[in-house]
Symmetry: C2
Subunit: 156 residues, 2 copies
């Protein structure tokens, strides 16, 4: 956090694997078989997923001892660090979503089945009720989190 602003000169068109490679190399990290496999799977599916869902897709690899649970966790953390995944917590469970090559969106969260619906929208206002109606979603409430750095932490 003491490095100031980066130039954001990242080529957004790069495929995920390539983008990750850059991230790893710039940090003196290695491009291993497992990291390759994980990024591959993570970005071959869209939408949100939690570790267990990802693990499911990696079943075979895990059975063959090609990848282990801890490594999945470690790699996901690196992808978040790389700014390629966004991590959130829903009901105690960590959920990840693409933050690379995928548009920003808001969420409709069902309290009964814990499913997460994406809502893509440019006009944020009246999003709540409009989107909700479109999806026949009965709105019980909402929560808006703006994330960032507070004045105190900015050192101001």
């Amino acid at each position: 956090m003491s490095e100031g602003y980066s130039l954001h000169s990242v080529d957004v068109a790069l495929p995920p694997a390539e983008r990750f490679r850059q991230f790893l190399q710039s940090g003196g990290k290695r491009i291993t078989q497992q990291r390759r496999l994980i990024v591959e799977i993570v970005f071959s599916h869209h939408d949100h997923f939690d570790v267990d869902e990802l693990i499911e897709h990696l079943q075979d690899l895990i059975a063959q001892r090609k990848v282990s649970r801890p490594t999945v966790y470690r790699t996901l953390a690196e992808l978040v660090e790389a700014g390629m995944l966004r991590k959130m917590t829903l009901g105690g469970r960590s959920v990840y979503e693409h933050d690379y090559g995928y548009p920003r969106h808001d969420h409709l969260f069902c309290q009964m089945c814990n499913k997460l619906l994406e809502v893509h929208s440019d006009d944020r206002e009246r999003l709540r009720d409009a989107a909700a109606e479109k999806y026949h979603f009965r709105v019980l409430g909402h929560r808006m989190f703006v994330t960032g750095i507070c004045a105190e932490c900015r050192g101001t």
Copy 2:
């Protein structure tokens, strides 16, 4: 969830303890010393809190064996059930906020210190940047969660 809609004929002016009493009684639950103590503390402080913070306020009582950790968890769950507390998860930790006698609001979440700032606002639009600026908060992103029941779960 099979009880349909309630009439919402709750007197919002009732003090928390009283409101909780109603909830307990209507469910054949008992008004115990510990539940009384916990509601007392929970609603004597405002703003968000997690279990550890609450436990801190209950230090003495816990030392005296008047209240135990499990009971704190159990009572918090009941307060959520009673609609008096709202529960959310931030970074794996459960955080509670008043949902009784306290206005609805959105949040500014600092990624560095994990602090949560409340933002009270009626006009939801342009809230993000406006509020952020007011608090000298550097916005890095936002997430809006609309909670409710999805079409599937509504049985539609």
